[in-house]
């Protein structure tokens, strides 16, 4: 049976790391904290905690949505270059 090897590409691993960080924050329920963007605190949060969690969550989310796909594409390009270089 052929084993599937985890790619050693740095960009690929960064993309996966971003996804894992976001999934953890999402599972922790930090998505609720982004209501601070509307000037409204989520129920049961204090202002400082909500602002900190919202900032972290937004960073992780935009990392997943904007950066991770670009990292995956770059990993693909690098693989293609290495694979097909003369």
């Amino acid at each position: 049976m052929k084993t599937i090897r985890w790619p050693r590409d740095f960009a690929f691993n960064c993309a996966v790391t971003l996804l894992v960080i976001w999934l953890v924050l999402h599972a922790l329920g930090w998505r609720e904290s982004v209501s601070v963007l509307s000037g409204t605190l989520p129920a049961g949060w204090n202002r400082e905690a909500a602002a900190g969690c919202a900032f972290s969550y937004l960073l992780a989310y935009f990392g997943v949505v904007l950066v991770a796909p670009a990292l995956l594409l770059s990993a693909l390009f690098r693989w293609l270059i290495v694979r097909f270089k003369p």
């Binding site: 998505r31 982004v34 990292l71 995956l72």
Partner: protein
């Protein structure tokens, strides 16, 4: 190995750059809704049904409602009040679109209106105003706020347009009469919402309420409306942009320039009394405040020619993009009202991307929003039949 590292880094950087160049222009396609999901000439878009379901549950669950309103009131009591107005207007539009919803919607509209009137009666109008409403006396005594009167009149009118309710007509007439008298008695045709502070938003709401009264009760506020419009075109236009300014003193002296949090709803209301002027103001607002990038759309709070500090009306302003939460939220109302589908879709794309929609058990809310934000969005999704009737003068 040492010699190869810079090559690898350059290659990695180039690959990442290429990845970004390919991906970023495509991101909006992931979030862009179909036009039918956000605007419909008939029927009710699914998104509106889901937003309405959550709003109706809030208003029928005292505990959830109390918690939600308290969260908003701790920042700005106005949001509690405006959330009621947008919800009542939205439910009226939905009832006209789908008569099967009338019974449920009318019951909630009545509850919202009666609860609002009760709170005003028991705690005074200041309960819906920011604390500085008590900081000094109103110029015109006895004190009244056009913010409160115009939106209550509009709520009562919207309810009566769907179906007449005994007892609401005199309540509406009382507000309409009070607003009209104060406008007529002011040399600058300016009525305060806060002490020596008059707002375009509230005057536009008042003109819309006059229109509703004229259609429902056969009154005639056309001369007063035309006088206000003529005066506004003469004295309230910001020279650099040609847009109406946001607020001014009781003597009609502009205090600030145009703002997204005022102009978008104002132009929607002004459509009822001067379509051509309203459309011209919308075009200017779109040019000066509307922004687009890579398929996303948003609104600035201020044009380039003047700016203020971020405040409770502008909401959070995202640096670099200059995207204002308050201005962008209300831009949905104007874009929908003027059937500007291109901008509306771009606004909704941004909303899906960055407002974190949450759907559960047939209900929907935006995590980055609050009750008033969701109510304004709901209203923007169903704008149509009521405003069309009012424009045509049909009950």
């Amino acid at each position: 190995m040492i010699r190869r590292t810079p090559v690898r880094l350059a290659l990695g950087g180039l690959a990442l750059l290429l990845g970004l160049l390919l991906w970023l222009p495509c991101v909006h396609w992931v979030f862009r809704p179909a036009l039918g999901e956000v605007r419909s000439e008939s029927g009710i878009p699914l998104r509106a049904k889901e937003l309405a379901a959550r709003q109706l549950r809030l208003w029928n669950d005292p505990v959830a409602r109390g918690a939600e309103l308290a969260r908003m009131r701790s920042t700005n009591p106005e949001w509690d009040f405006m959330g009621r107005t947008f919800l009542v207007l939205a439910l009226a539009e939905m009832s006209l679109r789908d008569p099967a919803l009338q019974a449920t919607n009318l019951a909630t509209m009545d509850f919202v209106i009666e609860d609002t009137l009760r709170l005003e009666r028991e705690r005074s109008m200041h309960t819906f105003l920011m604390p500085y409403s008590r900081s000094r006396p109103f110029v015109r005594q006895p004190e009244r706020s056009l913010f409160i009167d115009s939106e209550i009149a509009l709520m009562l009118g919207a309810r009566r347009l769907v179906a007449e309710k005994p007892g609401f007509a005199p309540l509406m007439t009382e507000r309409i009469t009070a607003m009209a008298e104060r406008l007529q008695q002011s040399p600058a045709l300016a009525v305060e919402s806060y002490p020596d502070e008059c707002w375009l938003f509230d005057h536009a709401m008042a003109l819309a309420a006059f229109r509703v009264a004229d259609v429902l009760d056969g009154t005639d506020h056309r001369a007063l409306t035309q006088a206000w419009l003529a005066n506004a075109k003469r004295t309230l236009i910001h020279p650099q942009t040609g847009m109406l300014v946001s607020n001014y003193t009781a003597k009609g002296q502009p205090m600030v320039g145009p703002e997204g949090s005022s102009i978008w709803v104002a132009v929607h209301c002004l459509r009822l009394v001067d379509e051509e002027f309203a459309r011209d103001q919308y075009r200017r607002a779109r040019r000066e405040l509307g922004r687009e990038l890579l398929g996303f759309g948003w609104s600035r709070e201020w044009p380039l020619s003047w700016r203020d500090h971020p405040n409770v009306d502008s909401g959070v302003v995202i640096p670099v993009l200059d995207a204002s939460a308050g201005g962008s939220g209300l831009a949905f109302v104007a874009a929908s009202s003027f059937r500007d589908d291109d901008f509306l879709l771009k606004l909704h794309t941004s909303l899906e991307f960055a407002a974190f929609p949450q759907r559960r058990a047939g209900e929907m809310r935006y995590c980055a929003s609050n009750q008033v934000g969701d109510a304004a969005l709901l209203y923007s999704l169903v704008i149509g039949p009521m405003w069309d009737r009012l424009k045509e003068g049909r009950k």
